[in-house]
C-alpha cells in the first residue's frame, strides 16, 4: 500500500482544518446548547447523543470526499499513477492504496465522532454512567458505514472523471441536487419508493433525529435494510472503480 507523501501532506492540511471546524462546531453547539437547555431538549444526553451527533457531523463527509477526489485526480493529472505502474505497482495495489485512504478517513471520522460525543456528553449529559454511554453507539458504526460508502462514491467519480474541478462539481451537484431532486419528485409526486438510490441510502443510515423532539415519531435505530442497501452500493462503487483502473490506459 502506498499512500503517497503528497497526499499525506494534503491530508494533514485538510485534517487540521477539519479539527478546526470541529472546534468551531463544538462552540456553535455550545451556544446552541444553552438554548436547548432552556427549552429542555436533550440533544447531548447519552443514548440520544450518538444519533444526533452522527447526523450533525454528516457535513464533514464532503471535506473527506474532497480529499479523496483530490488524491485520485492529482495522480492522474501529474501522471504519477502512470509512473507508478511503470515502476511495477499493480493496478490492484493502486486501488488498495486508495481504498486504504478511505478506510483511514472512515476510521478517523469514527474516532473523532466518538471523542466528540464523549466530550460533549460528559460535559452536558445528566446521565454519564457507562451503560448509558454505550447505548446507541451503533450510530457511530452506521455513521462510519455512511462515510465509507460516500467516499467510495467519491473514489468512483474521481476515477471516472480524472479531473479535480469537474469531479468535485459533478460529485457535489449529484449528491446535493440531482439525486435529492429526483428522489423528491419521485417520492412526493408519484409516491414511489426511493430507498434504493445511493446517496439516499447512505443518508438513511442515520435518519434525521431532531423531529422526534416534536413529533416523537422517528426511526431511532439503525435498520438492517438500510445497512444492506448502503453496503450494496459501496460494493458496487468499489467494483466499478476496480474495473476502471484495471481496464483503462493510463
Amino acid at each position: 500500500m502506498i499512500i503517497l507523501a503528497l497526499f499525506v501532506l494534503i491530508y494533514f492540511a485538510v485534517g487540521l482544518s477539519f479539527k478546526k471546524v470541529i472546534d468551531w462546531f463544538i462552540e456553535e453547539n455550545a451556544e446552541g446548547f444553552s438554548f436547548f437547555v432552556d427549552s429542555g431538549l436533550p440533544i447531548f444526553d447519552f443514548v440520544d447523543i450518538w444519533q444526533n451527533l452522527a447526523y450533525i457531523t454528516f457535513l464533514f463527509k464532503y471535506i473527506l470526499a474532497f480529499v479523496v477526489i483530490i488524491s485520485i485526480c492529482l495522480e492522474y493529472s501529474n501522471k504519477t499513477i502512470r509512473q507508478n505502474f511503470i515502476d511495477g505497482l499493480s493496478r490492484t495495489e493502486f486501488l488498495f492504496s486508495k481504498v486504504g485512504l478511505i478506510v483511514f478517513l472512515t476510521l478517523l471520522s469514527g474516532i473523532l465522532l466518538t471523542i466528540l460525543g464523549l466530550i460533549l456528553g460528559m460535559l452536558y449529559s445528566p446521565v454519564t454512567s457507562f451503560p448509558f454511554v454505550i447505548t446507541n453507539m451503533e450510530f457511530v458504526l452506521a455513521h462510519m458505514l455512511e462515510v465509507f460508502g460516500f467516499l467510495s462514491f467519491a473514489l468512483f467519480v474521481a476515477t471516472l472523471i480524472r479531473r479535480t474541478g469537474f469531479s468535485i462539481v459533478l460529485f457535489v451537484f449529484y449528491a446535493t441536487s440531482i439525486e435529492p431532486i429526483a428522489t423528491g419528485i419521485m417520492k412526493y409526486q408519484y409516491e414511489l419508493p426511493v430507498w434504493y438510490f445511493p446517496i439516499t441510502s447512505f443518508g438513511n443510515l442515520v435518519r434525521l433525529p431532531f423531529e422526534k423532539y416534536i413529533f416523537r415519531e422517528v426511526q431511532d435505530y439503525v435498520a438492517l435494510q438500510d445497512v444492506l442497501v448502503a453496503s450494496g452500493w459501496t460494493a458496487i462503487f468499489l467494483y466499478l472503480t476496480y474495473l476502471l483502473i484495471k481496464k483503462r490506459d493510463v
Partner: protein, 298 residues
C-alpha cells in the same frame, strides 16, 4: 545470451488509428536496442504496452521469458516520454517512492544523485527543476533498483547540445555496465551513436531490424569529382563494383560494394587518365539508410 524481451503480434488500435500493428520483436541481454521512427510511428505506444500502462488490442509479450506480470517491471528502469514525479516532493522523496514500489533494500540515493549530477539540488522540490535536471532525476530513478534493463523514450528531447551530450554519455556509460537498454528516438544520429541494434517503425509497422554496424558498413559512399565530369561518369559506369552514382551538392556520390575501396577506385580512374580533384570516403550515415528504408516501403 538470453532473451530479455519477446513480443508476438503485438497490436494496439486507438479507435481507427492503428498505432502498432502485429509487432514481433526479440531483444537479447546486453543489446542497446534503438526503436527508430518518425513522430507518431508508435514508439511510445509500443513501450507503453510493454510497461503495463497501455492496454494492448491483441498479441502477447514476455519479459525475461516470464510473461508480463507487474512484478517483472520492478527489474526494469523506465521513463516514458516525460519525466514524471510528484511536483511538491524533492529528489530524495521521489526516489524513495520509486524504491518503495520496486522493493529496493538499502537504496543509495546520494550515490545515484551524484552519478547523475543532481546531488546539490536534491532537497529542492521537483517542480523547481529545469528540464535537464528532470531528465537526470528520471535516469537516477530508472537506476534505483539496479535493474538489468533500462528503457528510455526520447531522453534528450528538449535539451540543449550540452545536455544532449551529457545524457547520451550517461546512457553509453550505463550500457558499458553491461545493462540492456531500449532507446526510442526519432533522432537518427542518437541511435547511431548509442545503439548496437535497432528497428525502424513506420506507422506502427516494423519495416526494418538489424545491427547498426551492419547497416553502416553495408555500402561505402565515395564523393568524387573531376574537371571532366562526363568522362568521370562514363568511367564510373564501367566499374561493376559501383552500384549507383548520384550528383549531390556539386560532387558525384558513388556507392561501392564492400570489397572495393576508395583506393581501388582512385587507381582505376588514374589508369583511365582521369585525375580526381576531389575524393572522399563518407561514412554511409544511418540517416540515408533510414530515409531509404522509409522510402522503400511507400
Amino acid at each position: 545470451m538470453s532473451t530479455v524481451l519477446q513480443t508476438n503480434q503485438l497490436t494496439k488500435h486507438f479507435g481507427r488509428i492503428k498505432a502498432v500493428q502485429e509487432l514481433d520483436l526479440q531483444i537479447e541481454t546486453g543489446q542497446v536496442f534503438g526503436i527508430l521512427g518518425p513522430n507518431g510511428s508508435g514508439k511510445t505506444t509500443t513501450l507503453g504496452m510493454l510497461l503495463g500502462v497501455t492496454k494492448r488490442t491483441s498479441g502477447t509479450f514476455s519479459w525475461f521469458e516470464q510473461g508480463e506480470g507487474h512484478a517483472l517491471r520492478k527489474r526494469i528502469g523506465a521513463i516514458l516520454e516525460h519525466p514524471i514525479f510528484y511536483p511538491f516532493l524533492n529528489s530524495i522523496e521521489n526516489l524513495k517512492i520509486a524504491a518503495h514500489i520496486k522493493d529496493v533494500q538499502n537504496p543509495d540515493f546520494d550515490g545515484l544523485l551524484k552519478t547523475v549530477g543532481l546531488y546539490d539540488r536534491r532537497l529542492d522540490a521537483f517542480k523547481t527543476y529545469s528540464l535537464g535536471m528532470k531528465q537526470r532525476l528520471a535516469i537516477a530513478t530508472a537506476l534505483v533498483s539496479d535493474p538489468d534493463i533500462l528503457i528510455f523514450d526520447e531522453p534528450t528531447n528538449g535539451l540543449d547540445p550540452q545536455g544532449i551530450a551529457d545524457i547520451r554519455k550517461m546512457i553509453v556509460d550505463i550500457a558499458e555496465m553491461g545493462k540492456t537498454i531500449i532507446l526510442a528516438s526519432h533522432l537518427l544520429d542518437e541511435v547511431q551513436k548509442v545503439c548496437s541494434d535497432f528497428m525502424v517503425l513506420k506507422s506502427g509497422v516494423k519495416v526494418f531490424q538489424g545491427k547498426v554496424d551492419d547497416v553502416l558498413n553495408q555500402k561505402q559512399r565515395i564523393e568524387v569529382y573531376a574537371d571532366d565530369e562526363e568522362a568521370l561518369r562514363t568511367a564510373l559506369s564501367e566499374v561493376n563494383q559501383v552500384s549507383s552514382v548520384k550528383f549531390e551538392y556539386g560532387v558525384l556520390v558513388a556507392e561501392l560494394n564492400e570489397e572495393y575501396s576508395a583506393r581501388d577506385l582512385n587507381t582505376f580512374l588514374y589508369e583511365r587518365g582521369i585525375v580526381a580533384s576531389h575524393l572522399a570516403n563518407v561514412r554511409s550515415s544511418l540517416e540515408e539508410q533510414f530515409l531509404s528504408i522509409l522510402d522503400e516501403d511507400d
